[in-house]
Subunit: 437 residues, 2 copies
């Protein structure tokens, strides 16, 4: 994937003008998500590693430059500048996996104006999407509950192959147990899961033959029991479980992918338990999301695990995040922009998180202020080089998962009846600066 | 992007079992979209080129095999089989850009069972997404009208970098005029468009200086006039237009990206016309889609062109397409699957399109039937090699655009009040086969 040119043309036409006029002094841009954000009471920040990789490796290759020359928009001097282009800026950011809120600065880029501008499109593409998915995954986890194992089944409906990789990583970061996407397993070391489709069952003369064959060929078989009739499928699976037990082996689980999942899951669970197989796990799947998992549990559905696909991978109820990247300071000082209902907070800022009883409250203030609480933004890149290697994903996942299940009750609500209110305020000095500008 | 492993693990666990048992006889799978499909009265088929490229080039590289070995699920013999794996099947498909309907077979793959199975995830990922976007783009075009120029502004909200490329291509295929995505311009030869962001205007002491600078640096400037006040911005743009005219040049256009677009567009258009600049084009943007463009026009908004971003790139009102890939025939004959409200039509099929007055009607029948009308499925790949090079994208776009605007009136409705009905029926022989199975 040639990523350097993943940019809106206007990044280049603006850069060209800055270049011609020597308007390349220092500039600072903030990434933040516009508030309010429908259906989301909190966000899980993600995409930073994708961004930092891009910033470290951004180069215009000879073929990129040849293409840009062919557009007839840029002179030779500018193309030479691009040939030597490196991102040499400074980046502050909230760590991946942090709980954050719309309105808060999450990434702050300080660089020459051209460097800061040229990276805009890629930055937004990476942060908007990965934060979108990690935030959706967190809600799915909350609906499924602390005991459940939830996995990503989305690749067939994700928006391309890069999306499939990013969905697997962002949902794992939030606390999913694994993904069906083998490419993501290889790329990120995420556990991969999956057993059989209906086509497998249909490739044998009958269901029982298919189950026996699969159990013989695989060490920890999970059998898909809804190709024909779920209860009949469960009985066939039970026979295989008995045959395996006789040989000192074990059936790992059964999966139901269609029908009235809540009712069927109860019946199947009872069948398995009454036959003396409480250890056989029950996995449900089929167009699930946090709303449907919540309804499934309210209706008495029982499951050890959930496979979540389409509605996770495209974040069905909110398919894009309104993240923006705005100029907040340049050589002339803090910059502010106010238009129809939208305000961009000026200057270099920090976010302080104050623990308050069971919950917390954030205050956005100016960099350099001395406010109580834990500062969320940390310096992660200087002179275009990251200061630390990427965090270990497995260890990070454990912490993020624990953090999500420890969220205060009001943030954990799945069905938001009214517009979400975020526990975010401003420092007195920031408010004064906004008024002055 | 390593694509070979963009597959659900179960494709490999099923293939492994088939391999161990010599269950690798011929199999045929259909790709089709489940009906009904919310908010869509027709689809524009796309993604075939992505699929055919993948099928021609699918290889498991040594690092892929090392990773698969590390999973401990597969024996050496199977890994050796994968090392030599090539897709050698036959593919029939509807041409890209064709108007199609949910329920119709759009791609038919006949290959060994393992070959046909292993490609499932990638096939669905490519066809579902590109068809989703081309279909959304067609609706946006219909709302904008035949005279309007519509461009893709979505990269910052698309689901990753591959999605951004595919959105640009699929929307151009449907008849968009261009994209802001430079990478897509380079990859597919799509015209690239774009001029300036608010940050550019804010990088100058005042708006007029910014407009003058930009017009001096670029041959066909479009000025963004809503950074501060739209009407004031329009007056500043007019001054630049006058200055350019005095030097024998021309202002290409102005863009409004916020506020009450319909009202503002009328006022700005009048300002430009009354000042003697009817040739200056007016472009509107800002969270547009087919519903909002229709409302804009109903409210008397006037625009030469539209920039459409987020809601196109994620297909906001339908963020995923329910396309599936199902076994329809194997060595034992036609296969059928019926589950809760879902039917998979058995056997190798063809779709015939019958022109009827202003409209048309499709009939799904069995391959080999002699039915009136134009057959939609064509043989595009034999023994894993495509039969023809990809169609020229620019020429194809012209035809598809014309086809969309020539659709019969009932298919062109933007706001669908009721579940869509598709003009699709079945041949007598297919119906008889379904009853028999």
């Amino acid at each position: 994937m040639r990523e350097a040119l993943t940019m809106d043309l206007y990044e280049l036409t603006m850069a060209y003008s800055y270049f011609k006029r020597g308007l390349n002094g220092p500039a600072t841009f903030d990434y933040f998500v516009r508030a309010p954000t429908e259906h989301r009471r909190f966000l899980i920040f993600a995409g930073l590693e994708t961004l930092l990789d891009y910033l470290e490796n951004l180069r215009f290759e000879p073929e990129d430059l040849a293409y840009l020359e062919s557009l007839g928009l840029f002179d030779r001097e500018f193309l030479e500048y691009l040939r030597g282009f490196r991102f040499r800026g400074e980046v502050w950011a909230v760590p991946e996996g942090e709980v954050v809120f719309p309105g808060e600065p999450l990434v702050r880029v300080s660089a020459s104006r051209i460097e800061a501008q040229l990276i805009e499109t890629f930055l937004l593409n990476a942060l908007n999407f990965e934060t979108l998915i990690a935030s959706k995954a967190a809600r799915v986890l909350l609906a499924a509950g602390l005991e459940a194992s939830v996995v990503d089944f989305s690749p067939r409906r994700d928006h391309g192959v890069d999306a499939a990789l990013k969905v697997a990583r962002a949902s794992y970061l939030a606390g999913f147990a694994g993904t069906s996407n083998v490419a993501a397993g290889r790329a990120f070391g995420i556990p991969v899961v999956g057993t059989m489709a209906h086509a497998y069952v249909m490739s044998f003369p009958d269901e029982l033959s298919a189950f026996r064959a699969f159990a013989e060929d695989h060490p920890n078989p999970t059998l898909l029991i809804d190709t024909y009739d779920v209860l009949e499928g469960a009985r066939n699976a039970l026979r295989v479980a008995q045959e395996l037990r006789a040989r000192g082996r074990q059936l790992f689980g059964v999966r139901i992918d269609s029908g009235d999942l809540a009712a069927l899951s109860r019946k199947v669970r009872r069948l398995l338990d009454e036959a003396g197989f409480p250890e056989v796990k029950l996995i449900v799947s089929g167009d699930l999301d946090e709303y449907r998992i919540q309804a499934f549990r309210e209706q008495g559905g029982v499951a050890w695990g959930y496979g979540v696909g389409t509605r996770l991978g495209v974040s069905w109820d909110l398919p894009a995040l309104g993240g923006v990247y705005k100029l907040v300071e340049d050589a002339h000082g803090p910059r502010i922009k106010k238009s129809a209902g939208k305000l961009t907070l000026p200057a270099r800022k920090q976010v302080w998180r104050l623990e308050e009883g069971e919950g917390f409250r954030d205050v956005i203030g100016l960099e350099g202020e001395d406010l109580p609480g834990r500062p969320l933004l940390r310096k992660v890149m200087v002179d275009g080089r990251r200061l630390e290697p990427p965090a270990d994903l497995r260890a990070l996942r454990e912490r993020v998962r624990a953090r999500i299940f420890a969220l205060p009750e009001p943030l954990r609500v799945i069905r938001l009846e009214e517009a979400p209110a975020y526990p975010v305020g401003y420092s007195a000095r920031l408010e004064a600066l906004v008024r002055r500008l």
